[in-house]
């Protein structure tokens, strides 16, 4: 037995108490024809052997590369105190605070998370967490439909392509419509959401719009005209949803300042390791009037019968366990531990540290831009950016692969993530954060110059790394 306590004598004692010979009698209620075939799995593995296996698998991943990859997940410095606190069993082995009297730690931590994010986004209501930025964005879209009684949302093509895909799954599922807002192909506004197109889409009275969704910064790293997009949305009676990157909110205008009704986004950057996609932290926030439309748990401050300050899950009548088929969403399990990670990270850094993280990332990105410009590789878009931008490289996919052989992860091959954006074929999306080093930037520029100078790079696929039978 790996973790169980029962000795043969314990089992015998329990069976005797039940008046049974064998544990098989407890499964006599499974009809004979439905009983399982034997499990065909490997034998149990002792911990020492298991750890060797896992170390071997982890070692097959290449995480030592000079990485310029962002595209929705960002590497940041995480003070050791964050993970040390997360490893306390009182946090990670508790469950949903159904008994508030013995869950005040979790409840207060969620309330503090709600408060911290409310400060960052400038909106008063923050859900206790959603699965990830994409799911939060999809829930935001459904919120706009419930709140307005309309059935169509508009989403910018400069929103993360995977968020748009998830949005489509959710919106289709609910029997609603989603239409894309194109991006401007060329000129000073290239890469930004096309506001003239948005205006035309909003003017279609046969399909009234519930919500308009833009990301700030956009998937391509650009700073979008959020205030103007919000005005257009509101002018048409629609709600405005901002998809945000929380670290950037240390220095960029928050959604509450430019009139967004809902903010959604990925909280991974707040101290959560990339870990190949999750668990992450879906941020969802809204204005006070929308509080009954927001899905997911909410924790509020209250008092106990003796008047002591205390915290409790509240407004639960929105949720599935009470409202069942009429619930705002089916969400139940959320990402509480990741919300705690975000709170810990923000507490460790404080407002100055957060500002420095954002500003240092911007500085590193400028350094990257300059280093690439020096070898003749320029940004694709003229607009302002914070710490991520697209570059045009001939044969981007092949160059990317060749750089990988040289120890550089040259960002994202845009055409692979967004095959339906021909104006950005042959582009790489690169990013820098405060953990990007000058050495890595110099190395990237040097290797890229080398690959480009050597003409058409090798188009043969390199041998797969680390694969054995």
């Amino acid at each position: 037995m790996a973790y169980g306590p029962h000795t043969p004598a314990d089992r015998r004692r329990m069976l005797d108490a039940l008046g049974m010979e064998s544990v098989d009698e407890l499964f006599a209620d499974i009809p004979e024809p439905l009983r399982a075939s034997p499990l065909k799995l490997d034998p149990p593995e002792p911990e020492q052997q298991l750890m060797a296996r896992l170390s071997g698998l982890a070692a097959r991943n290449r995480v030592e590369l000079a990485s310029f990859l962002g595209a929705g997940a960002y590497r940041h410095f995480s003070p050791p105190m964050v993970d040390q606190i997360l490893l306390r069993g009182e946090w990670y082995t508790a469950y949903t605070p159904y008994q508030p009297e013995v869950s005040q730690g979790t409840l207060q931590s969620i309330y503090e998370y709600e408060s911290l994010i409310a400060e960052l986004v400038g909106l008063d209501v923050v859900s206790a967490s959603h699965y990830d930025g994409a799911a939060a964005t999809a829930e935001a879209a459904l919120m706009t439909c419930r709140a307005t009684g309309r059935g169509r949302v508009l989403v910018s093509r400069a929103v993360h392509p995977q968020y748009r895909a998830v949005l489509r799954t959710y919106v289709d599922g609910a029997g609603l419509d989603v239409d894309d807002i194109p991006i401007v192909a060329e000129g000073d506004l290239a890469g930004l959401t096309d506001l003239e197109a948005l205006e035309r889409l909003l003017a279609d009275e046969s399909q009234p719009t519930a919500g308009v969704i833009l990301a700030q910064p956009s998937f391509y790293g650009l700073l979008e005209p959020m205030a103007e997009a919000g005005r257009l949305a509101h002018g048409a009676g629609a709600l405005f949803v901002a998809v945000v990157e929380p670290v950037s909110l240390a220095v960029l205008a928050p959604p509450g300042a430019y009139g967004a009704d809902i903010a959604a986004g990925e909280g991974q950057a707040l101290g959560i390791p990339p870990q190949y996609g999750g668990p992450y932290l879906g941020i969802l926030a809204c204005t006070d009037p929308l509080v009954r439309q927001i899905p997911g748990r909410l924790v509020g401050m209250t008092t106990d019968v003796e008047g002591q300050r205390a915290y409790v899950m509240t407004l639960q009548a929105r949720e599935q366990h009470i409202r069942r088929e009429k619930a705002a969403s089916n969400i139940c399990t959320n990402q509480t531990l990741l919300a705690l990670a975000a709170s810990l990270w923000l507490a460790a850094l404080g407002p100055h540290g957060l500002h420095d993280v954002a500003a240092l990332g911007a500085a590193r990105a400028a350094e990257l831009e300059a280093a690439l410009a020096e070898i003749g590789i320029a940004r694709v878009h003229p607009g302002a950016y914070l710490n991520e931008f697209a570059i045009r490289v001939p044969n981007a996919a092949d160059v990317h692969r060749e750089l990988l052989n040289r120890g550089v992860l040259a960002g994202l091959i845009v055409a692979e993530a967004v095959p339906d954006e021909p104006s950005l074929a042959d582009c790489l999306l690169v990013c820098a954060t405060e953990v990007t080093t000058s050495e890595d930037i110099i190395r990237f520029a040097r290797e890229l110059a080398g690959v480009v100078a050597s003409g058409a790079p090798s188009v043969s696929t390199p041998a797969p790394v680390g694969v054995t039978a």
Partner: protein, 501 residues
Amino acid sequence: MSASGPRLQPSLFELSRAGRHSDKVPHPPKAALDRIPADQRRERPPALPEVNEPDAVRHFVNLSQLNHAVDTGFYPLGSCTMKWNPKVNEWAARLPGFAQLHPMAPDDVAQGTLQLLWELEQILIEVSGMQAVTLQPAAGAHGELTGILMIRAYHEGRGDTGRTDVLVPDSAHGTNPATATMAGLRTISIKAAPDGGLDLDGFRAALGPTTAAVMVTNPSTLGLFESRIGELLEAVHEAGALAYMDGANLNAILGRFKPGEAGFDVMHINTHKTFSTPHGGGGPGAGPVAVNDKLLPFLPAPRVIREPDGHFRLERVGERPASIGRMRSFVGSTGVLVRAYAYLRTHGASGLAEITDDAVLAANYLKDRLADSGVFDIPFPGVCKHEFIASASSIKKKTGVRTLDIAKRLLDHGFHAPTVYFPLTVDEAMLIEPTETESVETLDAFADALIEIAREAESDPETVKTAPHTAPVKRLDEAGAARNPNLRWRPALGDWTPCPD
């Protein structure tokens, strides 16, 4: 209570003092943000708390001590499977090779994780008796939505467009009907038979050409194996509908019942219940979904593919047009899945069978101890699976003490309460799930505590009705919290001290 706590804590914001901090990152150059247009800049910095590391650490350590957790005591929360969370799992997920891998990294860079995910899929296929698994869903309810959307796509793919109903027993988790709504379908609730099991006649009467799916939790939320499930599955398929199994209670049937073999078309698995990934105070979880060949083409994208040469890769965007699309960003909650993989490897075939045997044995032992006491009602006295229902209905009639009061009084005994008032179909319900990792001594102590509280309800009902008495706080004003919601701290607009650099 330990000498250091539990103590209520001021809010993190109240600890804040202007200018207090611990240096963590280098200062940026002064001009770093000059290139950002003024109208895009934040006018006023966010009023986040300014604390130093010792203050922050003490705050969160002291807060943690206000929690009950599996690491601190018995947690018999029915339908949640609060089993031991192995420590090696936490070690595994933190290996830099797993933790630092970027989700958009090229396949060549991610072979270790891709192999792990692929192997995990194979193990879950074997456990479920299905044909394929997606690891993408982030939680059980997310898995439900994935499954029901696939069922919808299946019917639509056959041109069978009139199927709008999902049949759900009235004892189901609230997520089932809420999922049907999110998938654009209508829920039809079917009352249970008098023995608590599925009412075949009720289902047969509701099944028809408009039925898209039947969602069944097996064992049910009453802790009972649905012995009529074979007949129901036949009737479902005869009506042209598909059968979804809510796998919340998989801990009761490992190695004993494979839903795919029995005829279910799709199920979700809660790794945070059956496969020991920690509940994290409410999440994260993971909700892999297993399907048979009917639904395989519709699985969310991307899937993990193993090439004939042993190389692993993710499906490319648009590679499988029949897919229902994406359910979330990236490939899934990989950090959770690493933990589940470690657990499954630790146990292997014999260990998984033992988990179920011990979980069911413990539940029946505890149920019989409470039944023998004669003070609690046991509405379904036969053999249960991994959990069972006790009810305080008689106690309430006799003493006025309700299930809620008993739950609160258990906290004074150092136990977490069971799930209460669920399922909604049983009066004054307590759903008790001991799991396989609690010793017989703990089970006895818990039974003794419940029996003692029942006696106390007669001798001193006030003490029970006002419990808990030793928890960090007393009962809360939940009505006040909902009538005038206070959902965030409002920091005073303090002095912003510019960064010294």
